[in-house]
C-alpha cells in the first residue's frame, strides 16, 4: 500500500521539522473544501436513509431491461451493469459498506492505537521502546499482503475484514498519536501541572488527551479514506467481502470485463469512490493543518 506511507504525514517528528512552513496562515477554506463537505454529507445521508428513499432501489434486483444501459438515463441514473442492476442504487449501498468498514475500523484502531500512542509518547522510557519497537515491526510488513493472507486463511466475513484492517491500522495510528503526545508533553502547561503535583494519569487525561483529540480526528478521516481504498483493492484482487454485500470495489472489479464496451460500469462507482476518498482527504488535511502542532517541535 504505497498510499499508506506516502499520504499520511511523515511519521518521525524529526522529519517534520525540516518541513516547517514559514508561517501559519489561517486560510479561508477553499471551494474544494466546501465541495468535500457537501459531498460527504450527501454520501452519508444517502447511505443512512437508503432504505427509505424512493429513488434508491434494491441493488441486487436485476432488471434485464436496464442491463448495460448507459448512464444518465431516467430509468437508471448511473446506468445498469451486465446483470441489469441499477448502478446508482448499488453505489448508495456500497457507500454504506464502505463507511461502516471505514468508520468502525478507524474507531477501533484509534482506540487501541491511540491508547498505545499516548502511553508511548507520554511515559517514554521502556514503554516507548517496546511499543515503538512493535509498531516498527508491524510497519515493516507489507500491509496489503498481510491483509490478504489474513483474510484468505481466516475468512472474509465483514467483521473479519474489519478486524484484519484494525490490526493493520493500529501501528500507524499509534505512531501518529505518539508524535503528537510527545509534543504536547513538552509544553509548559504540562510542566506546570507536573509542578503542581498532578498525577500522571490525570495529566494524561486532562491536559494531553483533549489536545491530541482534534488532530486524532483529522488523522481518522485520512485513515477512513485509506481503509476504503484498501477494501476496494481487496475486492479488486478477488479477495474481498464474502457475502452479497454491495461494495464499490466489487462492482468495479466486475465491470473490468467490459472495460471497453461499457466503461460506465467501472467509471461510475470508481468516480464515486474517488470523490469520497478525495473529500475525506481534503477535509482531513484541512483539519490536520489546523491542529497539527508537531511542526513546532523544534
Amino acid at each position: 500500500m504505497a498510499v499508506i506511507t506516502s499520504s499520511l504525514p511523515a511519521i518521525d517528528p524529526v522529519i517534520e521539522t525540516a518541513a516547517q512552513p514559514a508561517r501559519r496562515r489561517r486560510r479561508m477554506p477553499s471551494p474544494l473544501f466546501w465541495f468535500a463537505i457537501g459531498w460527504l454529507a450527501i454520501v452519508v445521508f444517502l447511505a443512512v436513509f437508503a432504505d427509505v428513499l424512493p429513488f434508491v432501489k434494491d441493488p441486487f434486483k436485476n432488471n434485464a431491461a436496464i442491463a448495460r444501459m448507459k448512464p444518465f438515463h431516467a430509468k437508471a441514473w448511473f446506468g445498469g451493469d451486465q446483470n441489469g442492476r441499477d448502478i446508482f442504487s448499488y453505489c448508495v449501498y456500497g457507500a454504506r459498506a464502505s463507511l461502516i468498514i471505514g468508520m468502525v475500523t478507524t474507531a477501533l484502531g484509534m482506540l487501541i492505537g491511540g491508547f498505545f500512542g499516548l502511553i508511548a509518547g507520554y511515559f517514554r522510557g521502556w514503554w516507548d521502546t517496546i511499543i515503538s519497537g512493535v509498531s516498527d515491526v508491524l510497519l515493516s510488513f507489507p500491509a496489503l499482503l498481510l491483509l490478504i493472507a489474513l483474510t484468505s486463511f481466516w475468512g472474509r466475513d465483514i467483521y473479519k475484514i474489519i478486524i484484519g484492517l484494525t490490526i493493520l491500522s493500529v501501528a500507524p495510528l499509534s505512531r501518529l498519536v505518539r508524535a503528537s503526545t510527545l509534543v504536547y508533553s513538552e509544553r509548559e502547561f504540562v510542566t506546570a501541572a507536573k509542578a503542581l503535583g498532578a498525577k500522571k494519569s490525570r495529566i494524561l487525561m486532562r491536559e494531553i488527551l483533549p489536545n491530541v483529540l482534534p488532530i486524532a480526528l483529522a488523522f481518522s478521516l485520512l485513515a477512513v479514506a485509506l481503509i476504503i481504498v484498501a477494501e476496494g483493492t481487496l475486492a479488486f484482487l478477488g479477495v474481498g467481502l464474502k457475502s452479497t454485500i454491495a461494495s464499490w470495489g466489487t462492482l468495479i472489479t466486475q465491470g473490468r470485463n467490459d472495460l471497453r464496451r461499457y466503461p460506465h460500469v467501472v467509471m461510475m462507482p470508481s468516480i464515486v469512490l474517488v470523490l469520497t476518498v478525495l473529500s475525506l482527504n481534503v477535509v482531513g488535511e484541512k483539519l490536520r493543518s489546523r491542529f497539527d502542532v508537531r511542526e513546532s517541535a523544534v
Binding site: M1, A2, V3, I4, T5, S6, S7, A10, D12, P13, V14, I15, A18, A19, P21, A22, L32, D128, S132, G133, D136, V137, S140, F141, P142, A143, L144, L145, L146, I148, A149, S152, F153, W154, R178, A179, L182, A225, V229, G232, T233, F236, L237, G238, V239, I252, R256, L259, R260, P263, V266, M267, S270, L273, V274, V277, L278, N281, V282, E285
Partner: protein
Amino acid sequence: MLRFLRTRLLRAIIVLLVGSFFAYMLLRILPGDPTLAKLGANGTAGARAELLHKWKLDGPFYSGYARWLRDAAKGDFGNSFAANISVSKTLKQRIVPSLQLMLYAQIIAVSVAVLLGILQAYRRGGWFDKAMEFITSLLISIPAFVLGLWLVILLARKGGFFQATGYVPFGTSPWRHFKLMLLPSITLAMAPLATYARLLRTDMIATLQEDFVLLARSKGLSSRYILLRHGLKPSMFSLITSAGLNIGALIGGSVAVEATFGIAGLGRFIVESVLSREYLQVQAGFLVVVIIFVLANLAVELLYGVLDPRIRHARSIG
C-alpha cells in the same frame, strides 16, 4: 556518528529478526493443516509428520524458526507443492519485474515531483500552485487499481503506443520492455508523485525564506540559479526520506498494478501463493518483502544521518 550508525543498525537487525519471525509464524498460527494441500485427506500420519518436519513446521516454534532461518540464509526455501519447483528460483524470477516497476515508478515520481514542487514554490499562491494543490489531492485519492483501469480506458488502444497488458524482460527486447512498463509505472507513480511534490513544495517554500536565499538574491543572482543551486538541495530531505520509505511500500503495494497490467511480479506471487495455499512460498515471499523494507528504511536513515548534521549529533528523539 558511530553511535548513530550502531543504534540504527541494531534496530534494523532486530526488526528484521522479529519480522522474519512473524513471517515464519504466520503459517503456524493460521488455522488449517498445511499438509492437506499436498497430501490430501488420505495421507498417513507418518507422511504428514515427515512433511511437517521437512517444512520446519514441527516441534517448538523457536527451533522451527531457527532451522527455517538457517536454511533461508542459505537461500533454501523448499519446493513448491504443485510441481516441486524450487521456491527460491521462482522468487528470483518474480522479484525482477517488481523491482523494475518500483524503480521506474520512483524515477518518474521523483523527477516530475521535483519539477512541480519547484514551480509551485517559486510561484507560491499563484494559479499554478493552486491548480497543483488540487491535482495532487486528487492523485492521492485515486487508488492504484482505479487509476490503472482509467488509464487503460483512456490510453490503451489496439496497436497504439500504450500497451495494456504483459511484460517482456529487458533482456529480450528493451524497446518492448519499456513500452509495456510505461503505463504500469505511470500508474504506480502517481500517488507517490503527489506526495513528493507536496513535500518538496513545503520544504522549498521554507528554504526560500531563509536568510541565505535573501542574501543570494541581494547579490543579484538569477531566480533560476537560486532555485536550483541553493534552494533545491536543502529542501530535498522530506522527499528523499519519503521516497526511501516508499521503496518497501511499493514493493508490496504494487499488487494492484501488477494485477491490472498482467505483470508477474513479487506482489502477485505472494497473493497467488496465499490463494493456492503454497505455504512455503508465502513465507519466503513475506521474508523477502520484509528484508527489502528494512534495508530501504535503514538506507534512508543512514543517508539522513549523513546529510543532516543536526541528527548526527542530537540525541535521537524517538
